[in-house]
């Protein structure tokens, strides 16, 4: 590991002021320390933000819930308000990583964790995300776990977070403070498609600090998070879905669908949502909606299985939610 300095920030403002080129914020470190060991991340200075006083979960005006950026994943999933009003979010968090990792991982760090693409993690290989312009060996090589939606010729990586998928379905607001001031980024707008700049995972600028995630009132209807993986626990998603379905008099009054494991972003399935709203809540309608969404898929030879998997998962989850 390359030598680096370590410092701790006492307030968000101090963290932003203390940010300079070569600095990286440190949350729980469960992703960043790992990437530093691998030589993928080489900060000159770590600014530890994990002890910032941003660890509260509180109701705010308009029946919203504000989750501080340093709230640990375990505490988010165990919180009574999250369990009762945002069960999809609790389930998504619980579906990720292990008890040990969730105890340490922060909400901010979870959103900004990097892809698990094996070439990205191996500094002896080219990778456009790690070294822009060096190429993408995944396209010809091992892309079995990678993206089928919104990928580019430069990068087919996926974003690995489960929590972000639920936040995308909820339309949560990400609160950011940085050298350019404060702003609010509605999910799924935090993450970006790779395009020809795969080195940028998100729309954040250098020095931007996530301070909180604000949940809007839970959308009406039943919700669920389902994750398909190679083993039943402690593995990243091959495909996951966060879904909310509100059926009134047999017709779909409201619907939210977000997919994980299929794109560089938590993928909000807007085409499927649009296709369903106002129509019948039947298996046939769910299948058509899923197919409408997945028409835009561009799978590679070894990840083509994800398209029918995503389709079936959408249909099964919506069927479970339909009354």
């Amino acid at each position: 590991m390359k030598p680096f300095e370590y410092a701790r920030a006492a307030s968000p403002a101090e963290a932003v002021r203390g940010f300079a080129p070569g600095t990286m914020y440190l949350g729980g470190g469960t992703n960043l320390v790992d990437l530093m060991k691998l030589g993928v991340a080489e900060p000159e200075r770590l600014l530890d933000v994990s002890r910032l006083p941003l660890d509260a979960i509180e109701q705010t005006d308009g029946d919203r819930v504000r989750v501080g950026a340093t709230v640990r994943n375990t505490d988010l999933a165990a919180h009574p308000v999250i369990r009762s009003r945002y069960p999809m979010l609790a389930r998504a968090v619980l579906a990720g990583a292990s008890g040990q990792v969730r105890n340490v991982a922060t909400v901010g760090g979870n959103l900004l964790q990097r892809t698990r693409c094996t070439y990205f993690q191996d500094v002896s290989r080219p990778c456009n995300k790690r070294r822009p312009g060096s190429g993408c060996p995944a396209i010809e090589g091992d892309h079995a776990g990678l993206a089928v939606l919104g990928a580019s010729d430069a990068c087919v990586a996926t974003h690995p977070s489960d929590m972000a998928v639920a936040l995308a379905a909820l339309g949560a607001d990400v609160h950011v403070t940085g050298p350019g001031g404060d702003r609010i980024i509605p999910m799924p707008g935090l993450h970006r498609l790779p395009g020809d700049e795969p080195e940028r995972d998100t729309v954040l600028e250098p020095g931007d600090l996530i301070t909180a995630v604000e949940l809007p009132p839970p959308p009406p209807g039943a919700s669920h998070y389902r994750k398909v993986r190679e083993r039943s626990s402690f593995a990243f998603a091959l495909v996951s879905v966060a879904a909310v379905l509100d059926v009134r008099d047999g017709a779909v009054a409201g619907c939210r669908i977000a997919l994980g494991g299929v794109a560089h972003v938590p993928w909000r399935a807007e085409r499927a949502e649009q296709a369903l709203i106002g129509g019948p809540a039947t298996g046939e309608a769910f299948l058509q909606a899923a197919e409408t969404e997945l028409e835009q898929a561009g799978p590679l030879p070894r990840n083509a299985y994800k398209v029918p998997l995503a389709r079936n998962l959408i249909v099964a989850t919506l069927e479970e939610l339909a009354p």
Binding site: P3, V101, F234
Partner: protein, 162 residues
Amino acid sequence: MEITLRVNGVPRKADVDPRMSLLDLLRERLGLIGAKKGCDHGQCGACTVLIDGRRANSCLALAVAVDDRDITTVEGLADGDELHPLQAAFIEHDAFQCGYCTPGQLCSAEGMLGEPGPSAITEDLLTDPGLTPDEIRERMSGNLCRCGAYVNIVTAIGEVAR
């Protein structure tokens, strides 16, 4: 950098390079070799210790970042000569073969028993489920055992959970 930790109740000072993990600090500088290095990447749980009472992978924690914290390692579980109930149950139920994963299993189980709330497999998110064998398996999935002693590990933990 100068840091101070309480390790198994005893204040310890150390001058560490910011690159040093808590695991390396414990094993190489403080002589506590209970916590094991399996993968060094958070994937196996052999390095599990308790930080302020919560289980964590010591391989992914920078020593400088746990300055001021309370650390409990497997060496701190027993009360003098009196084994911790989990240690006694592991022996009673043959919950290990080579023993390499055992310190991590024990610390993880101790932390897990204090973690309320649902797990990924809990049906009803609103009630705290009992620790059935399936719940124990799910909650302990961050600890791998190459010898496959899982069946007895679950039995041993289940006995203490009751």
